[in-house]
Symmetry: C4
Subunit: 252 residues, 4 copies
Amino acid sequence: MEKIKIKKMMDIIPEGKSVLVCGLPGIGNVGRITVDYMVDKLKMEKVLEIYSTHFPAQVFVDREGKAHLNRNTLFYKKLNKGKSLFVFTGDFQGNTPEGQYDLSWQLLEIAREMNVSTIYTLGGYGVGKLVDTPRILGAFTSLEMKENLIKNGVKFPEGEPGGGIVGSNGLIVGLAYKFFHLEAACLMGETSGYFPDPKAALEILKALSKIIGFRISLEELVERCKNLSELTEKMQSEMVDKEKKEDLGYFQ
Amino acid sequence: MEKIKIKKMMDIIPEGKSVLVCGLPGIGNVGRITVDYMVDKLKMEKVLEIYSTHFPAQVFVDREGKAHLNRNTLFYKKLNKGKSLFVFTGDFQGNTPEGQYDLSWQLLEIAREMNVSTIYTLGGYGVGKLVDTPRILGAFTSLEMKENLIKNGVKFPEGEPGGGIVGSNGLIVGLAYKFFHLEAACLMGETSGYFPDPKAALEILKALSKIIGFRISLEELVERCKNLSELTEKMQSEMVDKEKKEDLGYFQ
Amino acid sequence: MEKIKIKKMMDIIPEGKSVLVCGLPGIGNVGRITVDYMVDKLKMEKVLEIYSTHFPAQVFVDREGKAHLNRNTLFYKKLNKGKSLFVFTGDFQGNTPEGQYDLSWQLLEIAREMNVSTIYTLGGYGVGKLVDTPRILGAFTSLEMKENLIKNGVKFPEGEPGGGIVGSNGLIVGLAYKFFHLEAACLMGETSGYFPDPKAALEILKALSKIIGFRISLEELVERCKNLSELTEKMQSEMVDKEKKEDLGYFQ
Amino acid sequence: MEKIKIKKMMDIIPEGKSVLVCGLPGIGNVGRITVDYMVDKLKMEKVLEIYSTHFPAQVFVDREGKAHLNRNTLFYKKLNKGKSLFVFTGDFQGNTPEGQYDLSWQLLEIAREMNVSTIYTLGGYGVGKLVDTPRILGAFTSLEMKENLIKNGVKFPEGEPGGGIVGSNGLIVGLAYKFFHLEAACLMGETSGYFPDPKAALEILKALSKIIGFRISLEELVERCKNLSELTEKMQSEMVDKEKKEDLGYFQ
């Protein structure tokens, strides 16, 4: 089997320059939540699917019992003023470093074909504790991009993220710049990393819609954040109660 | 060495549509027990063997001292009414995800050559406890298949199997549907997963023989199930006795 | 870099049928000790070296400070009556299953070129305790070979070796038979597996020289076995002394 | 993606024979510190960069927030009398043995193109304790080199380094000699291995500048060694103080 197989659903090559947003699974699933939300709210269309021997050897089974091969998917939406938006998401990033390089490279070849000129990869920045209003951290490849990101609220605190950016989010940005002459940046939303985190996704989406220039209803995502906040508050107060009781028991 | 090598024993391309049943080693060895039993009882003929660098680097040595390379094997049997049956079994599934993809793809190319139109992969569904009458769970790729499976006693409980289907059983079904336009389903027999389990194999075989339409004597398999039941009952009663004695000792 | 690179030192294609003996590193280093001894005592000539990305990424540094790449080497010796003997040994078997398949296959292609008709792989059979007179266990591919091996003292006890033969010793035999139509057998000398074991090598060499038909002085190997026996006896009696003293201390 | 990609910055093929010095990351980071210092002090020019799927799948993010793909880099400097000097350093050695072989081979093909006739690889020799004046140990491929190295203070103590040379430092030397007919040696500076070690780098640089014949200001490196010595002495005396106090506490 070829290492990467592409299944096209739609023949589309936008005339003007287009933008690509990538949100694969990762810390707090921030990137994937953001992009899944965009696909849903912007009613984006499926362009193609990527299958690969670099993915885990398994199928998902949905609630009806239907089996689905692991895959990544590219979606498309025509924006105002001749601009085009592509988003990329999916089930996995690739099992090995080599697989992640291969899959990132393949995506960039597709992006070139689709006249993409700018790429944003989205991810979480794990901080190991609950965050009220997550910052959005950035990593850039050209200074013009950096200035524009800062204007839209993205932060570049010195020394963060300390360990670099691991996985596809980093590779896509690095390869895009070095080998495809595309502008690329990575946006990382602060997250505890303990659970799928809509809050970081919300903050990323606020910044991203201004940066790229598209309108999207955030209502449902705000609702999910509220539900999550209630849940975590409830859990915390229950833990405090429990500790208090245990403390009393201890001192009696 | 090429990654996969095929050794043909027999030149056969059935005229009508044929069915392929796969039973490779896995949880409770359910798939392999079922298919080995079919090969034996239906007196099936060897069509070809698959050798691969994706298998562990070792040979089996049989009781006489003869060395055998790891391999998978395809068998054939002409059924009534021009129908043909192929089954596939063997020693291993492939060491790595890439190997499992490669081997599954290779099998599907062979299946296409052999005019196979429908594939069933067989496996165990590990539940971690002894089961009296194992359910057969299914995963399908087309709704027509699902209906036919339900009619023959296969269950599709919502949310099961939760973690998807890992390994060749899943890949063969997923790849068959996406890239070979073949109908495919996976049948999983409930099993404790603690030992090779003829009971799950028996239930699968009852369903499968009705679904595909072949007759097979189940007597010997029923016998093996009875022997296993006696053995597990004896072990359980011995454990209860031992616990009782220990309890007595404890309270004296 | 190509995965396997061959460096030829000598152009030789024997006219008659020749025999190949393989002794790569493994349990008790039995195979390698045997073949290294043959190379030395029979004054065999270097035919070629094999280098490979399947070997560990390191060089050995000898006592003078010279660096040596990991390699396997083929040696040659003309025997009486037009017979030719090749032996193969080296530093490693290959890092991965795929590497071991590749390297075994490559050796068999060389063997075919060299008119080899029969192959013996040599190894240790780890039994986890000191053995006075190691048995030689065999695994065969054709019944004629088995009979000849038995005549020369090789044993085929039912169910041994239980776990098959892991690594090149097994693969070379299995691939030789299935894909190269060569006769092949594996000879395994019983060994504790705790240290490099000349005793198992000695017993293998006694049998092998009769099976293939060559003369070799065993004196030096016998000497090494005696030295090892004295050493292990001394260690054992010291351990007994130490235990006695400790026992006394314990009871005082 | 191809496994190795080269990005050229400069077209240079020196007329005379040139020398290549390699200092990749490793024990005490000795090789990399040495070569980075040479690049800086000798004002060397970037010739090319190597990117590879054999490197970890991540990007570094610098203090400004700019993302950098993992890479190795070749630098160039014209020395006196028509001699040319190349140095090679970078972020990683390759994730796997196969990757390390591939990357070493690629470098040697570049070296051949650049008329390189002699190669020195630099590394640390971990001894697990602080060393006042690190020895420089060597491993050679031709006896002429050895004599020249000894004359310049390199040691060849029998049996050191015991475990051979692991990674690129060994492979480059071994492959250069066996397959590219280049002279090659490895110089290893003794180091504790506990932290990046400028002392070993300093001693290597003293020897290397004499061996190859170039002048370099060592002032700044001497300064870094002094700073490190002060730091480690301070830490040691603090530990002694702490132990004394604990001892007092223990006996009171």
